[in-house]
């Protein structure tokens, strides 16, 4: 025992009071050190995420090339299966063939982009803090010289950077693919729930929201598995809520058609609501008229002047997408601020 004591003491003599200078290779401040630690802890998830994004992007690029070649070869750009556009006459066969060949791939890509935020929330966000609290390792980190807020900053910032990088890469690749094969020709319209959630800034914003929800629930629940479950449920709830709210985020365009006019908006328009309007301008979503019994007379009896269609034209896509992404990001920011407040209240 005394020999150990002596060893310990002599170890000191040699190095006493000379805290090591930071190595040239490791010359980082406290935040740099935390970033190293967070990267080291989560490098597997980060690696999987970035590799999946790179693989997905390459696959989208290859798919885009093949789709573009098919469309050019059959001259079916902008043609849907049943089209009123003159140049699209006699393209039903090729369009159907195109859809049979490429729609499953597009749906797969969309599903991947819609699942990305949920997977990020469940497998990166939820365990981020919960696993530390569960294993007690937060005590290890908080016993070092860095404070809890810095730790949380590094814990959320680095995953956020990785998630944005991976999400932006995948979303950009899919959007690029969608520009040739989307809307009419494949029937993967911008306003479909899967499509809207996969295009442009939307999946990136949702991925950050998933990270924020997972981090906060993990911090509050302190249990990895329950945090994962709650994150999954909350993400589903938020996605559903936005799917319901989405058409009403921006004002709708209304097209009105007289009684004798054909009622039709462009295929690429998102038809949200339609019905009849009366001569006094009142809207009748339903009329109690049956097509088989004097339909026109019945309409006149109810003072129906024509039909209306509330819709978003295709030009509303990007404003809607950026507006929704902004709302989602604001929600993520609020949750992140809450997480910092919880951390500060709990650990000072």
């Amino acid at each position: 025992m005394t020999s150990t004591a002596h060893l310990g003491a002599s170890g000191h003599e040699r190095t006493a009071d000379t805290p090591e200078r930071p190595r040239p290779t490791g010359g980082r401040g406290p935040l740099g050190g935390l970033v190293w630690l967070v990267w080291r802890q989560h490098r597997l998830v980060f690696g999987v995420l970035l590799a999946a994004a790179a693989g997905g992007a390459v696959w989208c690029a290859v798919l885009r090339g093949r789709m573009a070649a098919f469309i050019d070869a059959h001259h079916i750009a902008g043609c849907s299966q049943i089209s009123l556009v003159a140049r699209c006459s006699d393209t039903q066969g090729p369009v159907t063939a195109f859809r049979d060949a490429y729609n499953p791939s597009m749906k797969l890509a969309e599903a991947g982009l819609v699942l990305l935020p949920v997977l990020v929330g469940v497998f990166l966000g939820a365990p981020l803090i919960a696993r530390e609290l569960e294993a007690g390792t937060h005590k290890l980190v908080l016993s070092q010289s860095v404070g809890p807020l810095r730790w949380l900053a590094a814990k959320t910032a680095l995953p956020a950077v990785v998630v944005v990088a991976a999400g932006a890469l995948m979303s950009a690749a899919y959007t690029w693919l969608w520009q040739v094969g989307g809307d009419e020709v494949s029937g993967a319209y911008w306003y479909s729930t899967l499509g809207f959630n996969s295009l442009g800034p939307v999946p990136v914003a949702y991925a950050l929201l998933g990270l924020a929800i997972g981090t906060l629930t993990g911090l509050l629940l302190r249990r990895t598995v329950s945090a994962m479950g709650v994150t999954l449920a909350l993400m589903a709830l938020v996605q559903y809520a936005f799917a319901v709210l989405r058409p009403h985020l921006l004002p709708l365009a209304t097209a009105k058609f007289g009684n004798s006019e054909p009622t039709q908006v462009a295929d690429s328009s998102w038809l949200v609501d339609q019905g009849y309007y009366t001569t006094s301008g009142e809207r009748l979503p339903e009329v109690p008229c049956r097509p088989d019994q004097d339909f026109d007379g019945c309409l006149r009896q109810h003072h129906v002047a024509g039909q209306y269609m509330d819709h978003h034209p295709a030009s509303d896509h990007w404003p809607l997408a950026f507006f929704e992404a902004g709302l989602v990001l604001a929600l993520a920011a609020v949750l992140t601020v809450l997480a910092f407040r919880v951390m500060r209240r709990r650990h000072g």
């Binding site: 025992m1 190095t15 090591e20 490791g26 050190g33 908080l142 010289s145």
Partner: protein
């Protein structure tokens, strides 16, 4: 066994306060885990934090480390609130479960220490401690034995060069040989740098000779605090024969901490109120272990905060001067009327009950 350097370190660090708690309390849900904790730990001491499990030892250490916040009252570390940028770098805390990242290697764990303690980290010292324990640097933490893990966790705590080292049961779950070596390591470290160490433990035997300061918790309250010599000197162990149903009145005249009667013989731990009168009994100075066992077994024992453990920021209650204590003198200043009569008459003090059940399991085994 106390090394000479300890005394020097204590002198060097004397006068400064390592931990000061005033009215400290922490509630977990509806239960108070810690309540009304008031004490002062001067810098440079090795303090034993003793109490049965659930007494609030880990909670007190967490509060001092700034991991949790007090529900009421205050705790200050070197005059600072624990969770501040000033206090963090100079306090190291090793939790009971010795948390380490299981997937990191030993070398990476040391790298963590370097990365998170810029300007304080002594890497060569940490590596030396790890080498000394024959822990391979490339091994994953998950593959290490309990003793190796403790050594690595201690290396992480030591290499930070803390001024206050809070160790929550560092020696539990270790074999006797490893325990011995690590205790020696701890002493050498503290002696060398005048580090203040607070060491919580259930094992009473291992504390004797290691610690010079004592803090006994029970049911979330401080029962005993002060210099070990001070506290021991304030007590007497009286053993002999009794004729009446209880303790002899000359013995019971002193506040009785704990008394055991078996047949005609009695053993009593009393807080000395002057000299214990002569009689058909022997009076001896209790060992640290006897003293601690006495306090741990007797939940109703009056608390004793020695002058050396009184907070300086709290209103003074005591005699002038800071004489560390004369054996045989009451350490608690003027006797408080509140407990004196009770101390003589109430049942747990040994007059009516003939036998004490042992209250707390773990400590008694040591």
């Amino acid at each position: 066994m106390r090394p000479m350097t300890r005394g020097e370190a204590a002198v060097r660090a004397s006068g400064r306060t390592a931990i000061e708690a005033i009215g400290l309390g922490r509630r977990h849900r509806r239960r108070w885990v810690l309540r009304d904790c008031t004490f002062r730990l001067p810098a440079g001491r090795i303090c034993a934090l003793v109490g049965p499990s659930g007494a609030g030892k880990s909670t007190l250490l967490s509060l001092a480390a700034g991991l949790t916040r007090p529900t009421e009252g205050s705790i200050r570390v070197r005059g600072e609130a624990p969770a501040t940028a000033q206090a963090r770098p100079v306090v190291a805390h090793l939790a009971q479960d010795k948390p380490l990242y299981r997937r990191l290697t030993v070398a990476e764990t040391l790298e963590l220490g370097r990365a998170l303690n810029p300007g304080r980290w002594n890497g060569r010292y940490a590596e030396r401690l790890v080498d000394d324990g024959e822990i391979p640097l490339g091994a994953r933490v998950a593959t290490l034995s309990g003793g190796q893990r403790t050594r690595l966790a201690l290396a992480l705590a030591f290499a930070k060069r803390p001024e206050l080292l809070l160790l929550d049961e560092p020696l539990a779950d270790l074999g006797p040989l490893v325990r011995h070596r690590i205790a020696a390591l701890l002493l050498a470290e503290a002696a060398e740098h005048g580090t203040t160490v607070v060491l919580s433990s259930d094992l009473l035997a291992e504390l004797d000779g290691v610690c010079d300061y004592l803090l006994v918790l029970r049911d979330g309250r401080v029962r005993l605090a002060g210099e070990v010599d001070d506290v021991i000197g304030a007590h007497a162990l009286v053993m002999g024969r009794h004729r009446g149903p209880g303790l002899p009145p000359e013995v019971a005249a002193h506040p009785v901490v704990e008394a055991q009667l078996s047949g005609p013989r009695f053993t009593a731990l009393v807080r000395r109120d002057g000299r214990v009168a002569a009689g058909p009994w022997e009076t001896a100075e209790p060992s640290l272990e006897e003293l601690l066992l006495g306090y741990l077994r007797a939940p109703g024992a009056p608390e004793l905060i020695a002058p050396s453990a009184e907070p300086v920021s709290a209103p003074p209650r005591r005699r002038p001067g800071h004489n560390p204590g004369i054996p045989g003198m009451p350490r608690n200043g003027p006797p408080r009327p509140a407990w004196l009569p009770g101390g003589r008459e109430s049942p747990p003090r040994g007059t009516e009950r003939t036998r004490h059940d042992h209250h707390s399991g773990k400590g008694a085994a040591a």
